[in-house]
Symmetry: C2
DNA sequence: TTTAAATCGGACATTCTTATCCAATTTAAA
DNA sequence: TTTAAATTGGATAAGAATGTCCGATTTAAA
């Protein structure tokens, strides 16, 4: 139900969140998240345009989050890539329905609303420092890159 | 987030539910639901294979529900056309995760679970006889077809 | 028996999603 | 200053979703 692209974007964001202080090149993120590198490149460009990540070109360049992981929710990422479409008017465009939705579309929309709510209340920070100890984090390794000084 | 095909299938099922006693030809359903007739034809064929509707070929033929509207939920329709994919194992296939999900995928899956729950608890019957009077039904007209005896 | 209304299935067209590749550009380090 | 690492944007391609068309078949009614 969520697109592949959304899945990739979320993985990348979680990866970058767990690598907070560093700048990560696409190829590293791609390896850590098992996303096709050339496609991930496009996804990250979109996230950049959406203002969720920042890029640094050239040697020692790459991507990093533009905000603190506490400031970005799952919903922010989803909406940046493929917005959740709420149903505001009857898709049949029946004149008899103003802004009212028929029972079917009211149900569909409230399911979407519930998803929005759930995604909107979880930040990247919560994902990387998870309260439940029984379930391990995705072990995004985020290898500390050589800084040249070690 | 839901595909166009799911939307069409749900409209058609609601239409047929509100036309319960009759057999409706594709063109009639298509007009009532504003779905492209030739595409709806394919959708109804799928719903037929999934056992949700029955078809009757030839003159005076068409489609009708195979079960009582109280017996079919929104989820049944969705799953017949484009099943909601629950996340059972980490999509990254990390060996360190057995059947455990990382925090990200646990959240995504529980959102899917919530949608499943919501869709699974609403029947077609509930959609056509809606409790809330303030919001009108989609006025699927379902014209009573001439029976030749009137 | 003929005719017309219907579904059925296959072939096809179009558009969107997913994915790849490469030349151009930027930039830090050697 | 040169080099290599990196993003950027464009072109392109494969596949899936969406949509159309038509001949074959079925079936009730005239």
């Amino acid at each position: 139900m969520l697109s592949q692209t959304v899945e990739y974007a979320l993985r990348a964001m979680v990866y970058l969140a767990s690598a907070e202080e560093e700048v990560c090149p696409v190829d590293e993120v791609a390896e850590g998240t098992k996303v096709p590198p050339s496609y991930l490149s496009k996804v990250l460009q979109n996230l950049n345009r959406a203002g969720l990540v920042q890029s640094k070109r050239g040697l020692q360049g790459g991507y990093h989050l533009s905000k603190d992981p506490t400031e970005t929710t799952i919903l922010d990422v989803v909406n940046a890539v493929e917005p959740i479409e709420r149903i505001h008017t009857c898709p049949l465009e029946l004149k008899s329905h103003g802004t009212n939705l028929c029972p079917l579309h009211r149900r569909l929309d409230s399911a979407m609303a519930e998803v929005e709510r759930a995604f909107g209340t979880t930040t990247l920070q919560e994902l990387i420092t998870d309260p439940s100890p029984s379930v391990p984090l995705c072990d995004f390794p985020c290898p500390k890159r050589s800084t040249g000084a070690e």
